[in-house]
Amino acid sequence: MLHVAVATRAFRRYSTYRAATLAGIFTNSVFGVIYSFAYLALWAQNPDAGGYDANDAVTFVWLGQALLMTVALWGGGTTDDLAERIRTGDVAIDLYRPVGLVGWYLAADLGRALYHFLTRGLAPTVVGFVLFDISLPSSPAAGICFLLSIPLAVTVSFGLRFLVASTAFWLLDATGPRILSGALALFFSGMALPLVLFPGWLGALAESLPWAAMIQVPNDIWLGRYTGVGLIGALAFQAGWALALLAACQVVLRLATRKVVVQGG
């Protein structure tokens, strides 16, 4: 119950940034248009590239733009608060709470993600429908599994971001690791270019890394790349990484609290 309260409060907190949200949707749409045309040009040259057709590719673009803020690809979730609180030492207060720190921040991040999903998720998708006639989920099962894959994607992203924010315990300033992590996320999530286009071993590697769970997997579920049992497999891939990363978070947190240098006391 407490976690739900935390999530609700985070949802409400992020919903106050209205003008920024509108500006953000505009930006999403501009990039959506740019990439749509770029991919249309590519698929015009190679109509079956990566097993997608042109419509799949353009749909992928808009789904990516829609999920960008929801999964907080570049950060901007509650883990940014965490990094700041570690830097100032306020994290000591968080550690005294009766609830686990990881669970607390995850609940808040999911609340934030829901807000971003409803605003910056739905809006670009609608723009994509209007401008480029992107496709709907390939089947009702795909649609449901897509919705299920979102909180899993957010959790995987959260795990990665939490680990990055935790570096503040040792480095004091987590900005560097965060930008590095953002670079990797942009590339390996499929956001910069669908992973299906990655050739050979690079493609195989990319699709097994956790970042794939953030954008590529949900998008592929929508596009119908997985069917039947394959859908369960895709969700299991995400869940597996989510659990592994959360476990890593707990381990790192334990190491950090033992070794913590709380600034200012």
Partner: protein
């Protein structure tokens, strides 16, 4: 002032190192994405990889240098809100210069370096002549000036509405991303809009058509290919005028 910020940045050396490496990686991966596209195709919009690298490099250097030069212009809304702007207005240095020197960061060095590497790699694709060399140099300078103007211009929105700083990104970073691709990828109407309304096409497209010895794929006049300095001057002029209007409005409303 600039030295102060550099020193502040270097006080967290490990994080700063990761910042620069990260920044280079973002951009290296950025071009890697385009290069990987070419494992599925031979040409995009009628242009080969090295030709696109030329476009990419120029726009990357342009926005990278401009981004370094503008300092905190993107955050002008914050200064308005916190009252810092009033403080800065009391100083004898022009406001724009102060804002540009604020939070000077070497972070963009990674981007500039990476874009330069890609640009240098692309150079052999051009059949160089003295005129082309001149056009190329003017192109890079104009590209920087144009992006600088765009950053300032769109940041001015914050004099009127205090919460929309991300709005500018669509035009500045969006402009950069767009110009990484040959304009043939986009519909004709868009290319025309980007020539005569928001002249981002002059950042690299028109001069590069000249460098690559190509006819304008949209059938637009050839003399446009020499107009990047004109476009840059126009954008910067408009930007400075809007900036002055914004500052004047701010001071006259008594904040």
């Amino acid at each position: 002032m600039v030295r102060l910020w550099i020193r502040a940045e270097l006080s967290y050396p490990a994080s700063f190192a990761m910042l620069v490496v990260g920044s280079m990686m973002i951009n290296a991966l950025d071009f890697a994405s385009i290069a990987i596209m070419f494992s599925s195709i031979d040409s995009l919009g009628g242009f080969g990889l090295r030709e696109i690298a030329l476009l990419y490099g120029v726009t990357g250097v342009g926005i990278g240098v401009a981004d370094t030069a503008i300092g905190s212009v993107e955050r002008i809304g914050e200064f308005v809100r916190t009252g810092r702007l009033d403080q800065m207005l009391t100083k004898p240095v022009p406001l724009l210069v102060q804002v540009c020197a604020d939070r000077f960061t070497l972070r963009r060095l990674g981007r500039i370096t990476q874009a330069t590497v890609v640009l240098v790699w692309a150079l052999p694709v051009v059949d160089w002549t003295p005129t082309r060399l001149l056009v190329a140099v003017l192109m890079v300078l104009s590209s920087t000036a144009l992006f600088f103007g765009l950053f300032v211009l769109f940041s001015c929105v914050q004099f009127w509405t205090h919460d929309a700083s991300e709005f500018a990104n669509a035009f500045t970073y969006g402009g950069n991303t767009l110009t990484q691709y040959p304009l043939t990828v986009f519909p004709r109407e868009l290319a025309i809009a980007l020539t005569f309304v928001l002249p981002i096409a002059f950042v690299n497209w028109y001069p590069c058509l000249y460098l690559l010895g190509r006819d304008d794929p949209f059938g637009l006049p050839e003399w446009l290919q020499f107009c990047s300095p004109v476009a840059a001057a126009a954008v910067v002029t408009v930007a400075l005028l809007v900036w002055r209007t914004g500052v004047r409005r701010y001071t006259s409303t008594g904040s």
